[in-house]
């Protein structure tokens, strides 16, 4: 009973609790470093424009101005966050070059002695921009003649040479032909900003040993370190990233946006540099959850079995893809839902538009699929005259069922989860639903050793 490692069934005090309630927890922006400079960003005022010129001469005359950084100062300016796991092509610019693709895109970093001086100098950078047509809707972006956002000529992320992530099982068209009902729906979701209470930021400090200590609130410390190493073309062992304390993240702090440019500024000035987003930047510039549009077409039998499901999904990646290509892959693996459907076709597009870039947020790719699918399930239930519980038990997958992406379902628990949920909300399930298990079809639960 006194085993300190046996914590099941006991409350254990959080190790960071005293720090949090006394305010002694040190968050990234709590580091106050002597001689610290402040970095503020000149951002694109337009959604899409060609850059004809940038004039920093007035900004340089602001008292306290120290340095301006543009694309030419960044050793490896074009990168992609997921390049670390082999995703191509490099497509995002640390500082804009030639074009800006969304309103708020980083163009010129201003480093100054005080925040006030940095803001004043930012306001005095003159931009010569030629506005270009912009596109804000995923399907508009795929039409011929749409403004091209990317540098490779079309507005989709390419999956092994295809404009979408594709999943195929069986023959949906043949199944639609023999279905009793066809149920169609289109589902739109909005972008969502994580809005962490602590805004994204870091402080980069040059050390006497030639290394740079970077205090950051990233959710992905080594992702940030490795990408900074690539962007600045310095060995990783020159970078010492200190993090782990995140004042709210929810996926919003996995992109590598502030550390490379703050570290570059520290290198160029040999001074500590603080780059912390304002609340406005957090809301208007940092990645959001993508907006999605999902088309569903289901073939259903008169007794409520879904025999075919066709999914066409478009995620609005915004101007750069960040972690969104991965979201589409995850989406494609889950877009038929936790249901046993023998004929499935999924096309999932990661589409570029001139909106704020999008990236990770809690269950991204899957959450939106669940929204669309579960509304669709209710529609089907109503159409065939079943209650919402029964339609889900009827179609739930069991161990051993083939999923659309050709993996066998293992440890399926949808049926047991729904039984537990029904009990919690006081819903009395019909005896046949209560008796169901996720055991492989054609066998009783007790034979497979499952409850």
């Amino acid at each position: 009973m006194n085993d300190p490692l046996n914590v099941v069934g006991r409350s254990v005090e959080r190790s960071d609790g005293i720090g949090h309630v006394t305010g002694r927890t040190v968050f990234a922006s709590d580091h106050v470093v002597p001689g610290m400079l402040h970095l503020k960003m000149v951002r694109s005022p337009l959604h899409h424009a060609r850059i004809r010129g940038i004039d920093t001469s007035d900004a340089e005359r602001v008292p306290g101005f120290v340095r301006a950084l543009t694309a030419a100062d960044v050793p490896h300016n074009r990168y992609t966050i997921l390049g670390l796991i082999g995703v191509e092509p490099e497509e995002e610019f640390v500082l804009a070059e030639e074009r800006v693709r969304f309103k708020g895109e980083a163009m010129v970093a201003i480093v100054a002695e005080t925040e006030e001086a940095a803001y004043e100098a930012v306001a005095k950078v003159h931009l010569d921009l030629e506005e270009l047509p912009a596109v804000f809707d995923v399907e508009e972006a795929l039409k011929p003649g749409a403004p091209v956002v990317t540098h490779w000529g079309n507005n989709t992320f390419m999956y092994e040479g295809h404009p979408c992530r594709r999943v195929r099982l069986g023959d949906v068209e043949a199944a639609f032909a023999r279905a009793d009902h066809i149920v169609e729906g289109v589902y739109d979701t909005s972008p969502i900003e994580h809005a962490p209470t602590e805004t994204t930021g870091c402080i980069a400090v040059p050390e006497a040993n030639g290394r740079y200590t970077v205090y950051t609130n990233t959710q992905a410390l080594y992702f940030s370190l490795d990408n900074t190493s690539i962007i600045l073309q310095v060995p990783g062992n020159q970078l010492h990233f200190v993090g782990g304390t995140v004042g709210g993240g929810f996926g919003g702090k996995v992109d590598v946006i502030v550390e490379p440019i703050a570290t570059l500024a520290a290198m160029k000035t040999n001074r500590p540099v603080r780059y912390v987003y304002s609340r406005a930047e957090e809301m208007q510039v940092s990645s959001t959850r993508s907006a999605w549009r999902i088309y569903l077409k289901d073939g259903v039998t008169a007794d409520g079995h879904i025999i075919a499901r066709k999914v066409t999904s478009y995620a609005d990646s915004g101007a750069y893809s960040r972690q969104t290509p991965y979201a589409l892959t995850k989406h494609a693996a889950n877009a038929a839902g936790p249901y046993a459907i023998p004929n499935v076709s999924i096309d999932a597009y990661c589409v570029y538009t001139n909106r704020q870039p999008t990236s990770a947020m809690r269950g991204f790719g899957v959450t939106m699929a669940s929204f669309a699918l579960e509304v669709q399930m209710d529609k089907i239930a109503e159409l065939v005259g079943l209650d919402p519980w029964t339609i889900r038990f009827l179609n739930a997958y069991h161990d051993g069922d083939m999923k659309p992406h050709r993996k066998l379902a293992e440890d399926a628990t949808l049926i047991e989860t729904m039984q537990a949920a029904a009990a919690l909300v006081g819903h009395d399930l019909a005896p046949d639903l209560k008796a169901m298990t996720s055991a492989p079809r054609g066998r009783r639960g007790e034979e497979s050793g499952r409850p």
Binding site: V21, G23, S29, V32, E198, G248
Partner: protein, 165 residues
């Protein structure tokens, strides 16, 4: 414009003197000049409550407060609210009730709760919610926070712990 010298009382027993440019906020002075970083900066526009401090016992948003306005007044930050030994009953209740996730809103929550319990030793749930109306928690932990403040009120009310001030 020239800087001015402002003096104010910090906690119960410390007078501080700072030199500031006009319109410098109390938040900036606390964090950047005095190194008191328990006072957080979530929005710097009066929207989140993470920078709350007490001025003469009343909760105020230090991000909107020019430090000249607290000249001669008593400012209580979370550092000065925390006893030398142990914890304030509100702090202990937050730990016991798991009333935080990331911890960034916690200092502001504790400060506002302290002001509430100072005025009202037995607040209703609605009173607690009203007191927290200006404080945002994005990890969505409001339930445990409200419960923890209620628990702290009971602890103080039962006289189990003398409220340190």
């Amino acid at each position: 414009m020239a800087s001015t010298i402002v003096t104010f009382e910090l906690g119960d027993d410390r007078e501080v003197e700072v030199m500031v440019r006009p319109m410098t906020t109390l938040q900036t002075v606390l964090r950047n000049q005095l190194g008191l970083t328990a006072t957080k900066e979530g929005c710097r526009q009066g929207g989140c409550g993470s920078c709350a401090v007490l001025v003469d016992g009343e909760p105020m948003l230090s991000c909107l407060l020019p430090v000249e306005d607290v000249a001669g007044r008593r400012v209580t930050t979370l550092e000065s609210l925390t006893p030398t030994e142990g914890l304030h009953p509100i702090q202990q209740a937050f730990i016991d009730g798991y009333a935080f996730q990331c911890g960034y809103c916690t200092p502001g929550m504790v400060i506002v709760a302290a002001a509430l319990l100072d005025h009202d030793s037995a607040p209703s749930v609605d009173d607690i919610r009203w007191a927290l109306a200006g404080n945002i928690c994005r990890c969505t932990g409001y339930g445990p926070i409200v419960e923890a403040i209620g628990a702290a009120a009971e602890t103080i009310g039962a006289g189990q712990v003398e409220e340190p001030r």
